[in-house]
C-alpha cells in the first residue's frame, strides 16, 4: 500500500481551533473535547493537534518532532542532525498507551539550533532549517520531521483525534493557541506522517476538503524550490502561504485574496485602485488560487487565520468569548467548550477570520525581502 508521498490522497475532515489573544495558556483538554464532538467527520485514520506556546523553556530552539520507522533510521537521521545543528535536548515524546492507537513509530523530539557555519551564503536561518527538513523528509526513508517551529509543536498520528490527544498526553501541555484535526482519508492506510496538522517551521495547517487545483499549485510551488513530498493538499497550502507571506512578503489579506480570489465579476465592481491590485493578484498568482472546497486554519506563533474557499463549499463557524476565539467545522464543537459565546457567526466564503496575539500585526514577521532576489530565478530552498 502506498502512503502519503507516494500517492496523492484526498481527505475529508473536521477542524477546530481555540486561541487566547492575550497569550494566556490552557491545557489541551478543551480542544480534544471540541474535536471529539465531530467524531463522525473523521474515520480513525488520522488525528492531530498543533499547540503554540508549549515550550517556553526552549523558546529560541527549533523543536523538531520526528517519526522514525526504526532505530537504524533514527541513527542515520541523528547523524545528519548533529552535522547541521547543535542539539540541546533529545527525548522521546511522552505518550499514554491506548488500545485504539496501534503501529506506533518511534516518536522523538529535538530542541536544536542551526550551526551557522553550515549555512550557505545568502541562506537565511529559516531557509536552512526548511532545506534540512526537506532533505530528511524526501531523502531519508523511514524518518519524517512533522514539527519544526519554535515554542510550538504538532502532535499527530493514526487514530481518531480524541485518542491521539490522549495518546500524546495533551492535557499536560499548556498553549495559548490550539488547533485540531480529524481526518477522513479516502484511500490510505493512514501513515503517521500523513496525519494533520501539516507543519513547517512555525506554520501549521489543519484543513478540511479536497482541492482541485492541487497540481497547478504544486507545479508552481516547485518552481520556487518546494518539494511536495507528501502530495497532500495541506502540504501544498502550507507552502503557498509560506511562499506568499514569508518569501514574497505579500500582506496576509492579499495572500488571502490570492488563494480565495474574489470572482472577476466582483473585482469589476471595485474602485480603480482596488481593481488594479486585485487584478494584479489574480493575474500574477493565478496558479496559487486554491480551487475546490476547503476550510483551513493556518496557525503561526502570532495567531491563526481561518479561511473558507470562495464558494464556501465547506462549513466553518466562528465564535468569540472574551479574549478567546473559537473556530470549528461545526458549531456544536464550539458549544461543547463554550456554551454561551459573546457572539458566533458563519464566515463567508473567502472571508478570513484572523486572530492575532495582542500587539502582533501579522501572522508572519518576515525578514526584509531582497527585491532583486526573484529577478534571477534562483530561489533556492
Amino acid at each position: 500500500m502506498l502512503k502519503e508521498g507516494h500517492i496523492r490522497i484526498p481527505a475529508g475532515c473536521a477542524i477546530s481551533g481555540i486561541m487566547n489573544k492575550k497569550g494566556e495558556v490552557t491545557s489541551g483538554q478543551e480542544i480534544i473535547k471540541s474535536i471529539a464532538v465531530m467524531h463522525d467527520r473523521s474515520n480513525g485514520l488520522g488525528g492531530g493537534f498543533a499547540a503554540y506556546g508549549i515550550y517556553p523553556e526552549f523558546k529560541n530552539h527549533y523543536a523538531l518532532h520526528l517519526f522514525f520507522d526504526d532505530k537504524k533510521v533514527k541513527q542515520e537521521t541523528e547523524f545528519l542532525l548533529n552535522k547541521f545543528f547543535s542539539i540541546d535536548l533529545a527525548e522521546t515524546i511522552p505518550i499514554r498507551k491506548i488500545n485504539a492507537i496501534k503501529n506506533v513509530p518511534l516518536i522523538w523530539r529535538y530542541f536544536v539550533k542551526p550551526k551557522i557555519k553550515e549555512m550557505a551564503l545568502h541562506e537565511t536561518e529559516s531557509e536552512f532549517v526548511v532545506n534540512f527538513i526537506m532533505r530528511i523528509n524526501s531523502e531519508v526513508e523511514g524518518a519524517y520531521v512533522f514539527s519544526s517551529g519554535k515554542n510550538m509543536g504538532t502532535f499527530k498520528g493514526v487514530g481518531f483525534p480524541e485518542d491521539i490527544g490522549e495518546f500524546f498526553r495533551l492535557d499536560e501541555y499548556k498553549a495559548y493557541s490550539w488547533t485540531a484535526h480529524g481526518r477522513f482519508p479516502t484511500n490510505t492506510p493512514g501513515w503517521w506522517g500523513g496525519a494533520h496538522p501539516f507543519s513547517l517551521l512555525d506554520w501549521t495547517i489543519v484543513h478540511n476538503g479536497e482541492i482541485s487545483s492541487y497540481d497547478a499549485n504544486r507545479r508552481y510551488l516547485e518552481m520556487y524550490g518546494y518539494k511536495c513530498t507528501l502530495q497532500t493538499d495541506t502540504e501544498a497550502i502550507t507552502y503557498i502561504f509560506d511562499l506568499l507571506l514569508r518569501k514574497f512578503g505579500i500582506p496576509l489579506e492579499s495572500a488571502i485574496n490570492i488563494v480565495a480570489a474574489p470572482f472577476w465579476s466582483k473585482i469589476s465592481r471595485m474602485n480603480p485602485d482596488e481593481q488594479k491590485l486585485f487584478k494584479a493578484l489574480r493575474v500574477v498568482f493565478s496558479s496559487l488560487l486554491i480551487n475546490g472546497p476547503f476550510s483551513i486554519i493556518l496557525g503561526s506563533k502570532n495567531g491563526f487565520m481561518a479561511l473558507n474557499d470562495r464558494l464556501k463549499l465547506r462549513s466553518l463557524v466562528a465564535a468569540q468569548k472574551g479574549d478567546n476565539l473559537y473556530i470549528a467545522s461545526e458549531e456544536s464543537a464550539i458549544r461543547e467548550i463554550c456554551k454561551n459565546p459573546d457572539k458566533s457567526w458563519a464566515p463567508k466564503g473567502g472571508e478570513p477570520v484572523i486572530c492575532l496575539l495582542d500587539g502582533k500585526e501579522s501572522l508572519y514577521e518576515f525578514d526584509q525581502v531582497d527585491e532583486n532576489e526573484f529577478e534571477h530565478h534562483s530561489v533556492a530552498l
Binding site: A216, V283, V284
Partner: protein, 500 residues
C-alpha cells in the same frame, strides 16, 4: 501532348430521381465540375474537376449529389500506394514541388486522443457551471515574479496583459490567403466572444481597424502592412518566426491574388507577388529577436504584449526558453498539424513535432528554469474541440490558437485546395464571385457560436473536475491520464497512465 496518367480523384454521383436540373451545382462550382448541357437540357458532371469541397452537395436543394472516391483500383501495394504514385505522375507531368493546403493529413498519432480527463466524485464536489460562477477569463502577458504591495496598494503596475474571456483565440491567417469576409467574420466573432483574432502577415484592412482592440497584428518576415498605425491599432503584436505547417519555409502570395484591397492592405503594388522570406532577415540569432521585440515595445511605448510565434520543432523547449529570456510576453507554439493556405507537401507532412509534446516539453522546461510564470504560453496546430483545449491547458498552456476549426466553422470542408484561389466556400479566395459566399454576419455568428459552445463545454469539463476558474487547471497535469501511450511518451507529457 502525351498521356496524362492522372485519373480523377473523385466521382460525382447524381441521383436522377432527385435531380431537378435546377443548376444550382453548376452555378456554385468554381471548378466547373458540373455543367449544363443546352442540347440535352440537363446537368452533367465533370468528375476530373471535382475537388470534393462539398459545396454542391450542401447547396443541392434535393440532396441529389454524392461524391465518392473515384473507384479506380490500383494493384494492392503496401509500399507503392495510389497516393505515392499519383504524386509521381503529377511531378512527372509538371516538374513541380508538390503544393498542398490545410494541415498535415498523415496518420500520425494524435496525443490529445490519448489523454483522458479527471472528474470529481465524492471527495470534492463537481461544480454545475450553469448556475455556479465559472471563470474562463485569461490574461496573457508577462508576469512579474511577485508584487509589491503596501497599505493595500499596488506599488508597481504589472506589464500589459491581454484580457480573454475564454482561452481561445483565432490564429494568424493573412488577408490574401483568406478573404476579407473571412477576416471580418473572425474579427467580429472575436469581439463578440471577448477574445482576439490575428491578422497574419497580410496587414489590417481599413474596415477592420474598428476591431483593433480585439486584433493581434503580425509582424512577419515580409513586414506586409506594417507601419506605426498598424502597431498602435492592435491589442498585441505577434512576431512570426514560423508556423507549424511549414517550419523554416517562407510564404508566397501570388500576384493574381493581390487585388485592389489586398494591395492597399499589404501596402504593395497591385498584382505583384507578395513574398515572405523564410527567416526574418534581421533575426539570425536569439539576440536579434530581443532587438526586434524591444523595437516593437519601444514603438508602442510598452503598452502592448509582444507575442513570438514559433513552429514546434525538435528543440522547441530550449528555443522557447530563449524567447522568454529575450523578453517576449507571450510565446505561441504551432504544432506540426497546423494548417496553411499553401505549403510544400513534403514539408507539411514531415517537418516538426506534435504540439502536445512541444507544449509539455516547453512548460516543463520553463518550470525547471523557474520562468514559466513570466510568460504566457499559447499553443495551436489543430485544436479540434473543447477537450483538446482543456487538455492543452492542463498540460500547461494559457490559451490556444485555433484556425482550421475556425475556418471549418465558416464552412470550410477541408478539400485542401486553398492555394488554387477557387475556394468554393469564399474563404481562401479573393475572387469576388466567391468571396461573397461568405456573409460575414453569418460567419461571425458561426465562429462566435463555436466559441460559445466550446466555452460551455470547457465549463462543463472544468465543473466536472471541481474547478471554477481556468487558472486552476493550468499545468494541472494531475487532471490528465494517458491511455495507450508508452512510458517514454507519458514521461514527455508529464502525466500518469490511466489507472495510476
Amino acid at each position: 501532348m502525351s498521356i496524362n496518367c492522372l485519373t480523377p480523384a473523385f466521382l460525382i454521383e447524381r441521383d436522377k430521381d432527385r435531380c431537378i436540373d435546377c443548376q444550382v451545382c453548376v452555378r456554385q462550382c468554381a471548378n466547373e465540375a458540373h455543367r449544363w448541357d443546352e442540347e440535352e437540357q440537363r446537368v452533367f458532371s465533370e468528375d476530373a474537376n471535382c475537388v470534393n469541397c462539398h459545396r454542391c452537395v450542401v447547396m443541392c436543394p434535393t440532396k441529389a449529389l454524392h461524391i465518392k472516391k473515384f473507384p479506380l483500383e490500383f494493384r494492392y501495394n503496401a509500399n507503392w500506394t495510389q497516393e505515392a504514385m499519383r504524386a509521381i505522375y503529377l511531378q512527372a507531368e509538371t516538374g513541380g514541388v508538390l503544393l498542398t493546403g490545410m494541415g498535415n493529413d498523415r496518420p500520425y498519432p494524435i496525443y490529445w486522443d490519448h489523454m483522458l480527463l479527471n472528474a470529481s466524485q465524492v471527495t470534492n464536489p463537481s461544480i454545475d457551471p450553469l448556475r455556479e460562477p465559472m471563470e474562463l477569463k485569461t490574461y496573457l502577458g508577462r508576469k512579474p515574479d511577485f508584487l509589491k504591495i503596501k497599505n493595500g496598494k499596488l506599488l508597481e503596475d504589472i506589464p500589459p496583459q491581454l484580457e480573454l474571456e475564454l482561452p481561445i483565440m483565432f490564429s494568424a491567417m493573412s488577408f490574401g490567403s483568406i478573404s476579407l469576409n473571412a477576416h471580418k467574420s473572425l474579427a467580429a466573432a472575436a469581439k463578440k466572444a471577448g477574445t482576439y483574432w490575428n491578422t497574419g502577415e497580410g496587414g489590417l484592412h481599413k474596415d477592420l481597424v474598428e476591431h483593433g482592440d480585439h486584433t493581434i497584428v503580425q509582424v512577419a518576415s515580409g513586414r506586409f502592412g506594417v507601419d506605426a498605425d498598424y502597431l498602435k491599432t492592435a491589442a498585441a503584436i505577434e512576431i512570426k518566426i514560423g508556423q507549424g505547417a511549414k517550419p523554416g519555409i517562407g510564404g508566397h502570395l501570388p500576384g493574381e491574388k493581390v487585388g485592389e484591397e489586398v494591395s492597399q492592405t499589404r501596402m504593395i503594388p497591385l498584382g505583384t507577388d507578395a513574398i515572405s522570406p523564410a527567416p526574418h532577415h534581421d533575426i539570425y540569432s536569439i539576440e536579434d529577436l530581443r532587438q526586434l521585440i524591444y523595437s516593437l515595445k519601444e514603438a508602442t511605448e510598452y503598452q502592448k504584449p509582444i507575442f513570438v510565434k514559433i513552429a514546434a520543432v525538435h528543440n522547441v523547449a530550449a528555443i522557447a526558453s530563449g524567447i522568454v529570456r529575450a523578453g517576449a510576453d507571450v510565446v505561441a507554439i504551432d504544432g506540426f498539424r497546423g494548417g496553411t493556405g499553401a505549403a510544400p507537401l513534403r514539408t507539411r507532412d514531415s517537418v516538426g513535432i506534435p504540439i502536445e509534446f512541444a507544449l509539455a516539453a516547453v512548460d516543463t522546461r520553463l518550470r525547471e528554469e523557474g520562468i514559466r510564470n513570466k510568460v504566457s504560453l499559447v499553443v495551436g496546430g489543430s485544436i479540434r474541440n473543447s477537450s483538446d483545449i482543456v487538455k492543452a491547458v492542463a498540460l500547461g498552456a494559457d490559451a490556444v490558437y485555433i484556425a482550421t476549426s475556425a475556418l471549418i466553422s465558416l464552412g470550410c470542408h477541408m478539400c485542401q485546395k486553398c492555394y488554387t484561389g477557387k475556394c468554393n466556400w469564399g474563404i481562401a479566395t479573393q475572387d469576388p464571385q466567391l468571396t461573397k459566399r461568405l456573409n460575414p454576419e453569418i460567419g461571425a455568428e458561426r465562429a462566435a457560436n463555436l466559441l460559445k459552445a466550446w466555452a460551455h463545454e470547457i465549463e462543463e469539463l472544468l465543473g466536472g473536475m471541481g474547478i471554477n476558474a481556468l487558472e486552476s487547471l493550468r499545468g494541472n497535469r494531475l487532471m490528465l491520464r494517458g491511455i495507450g501511450l508508452t512510458d517514454r511518451e507519458l514521461n514527455i507529457l508529464g502525466i500518469k497512465a490511466a489507472g495510476e
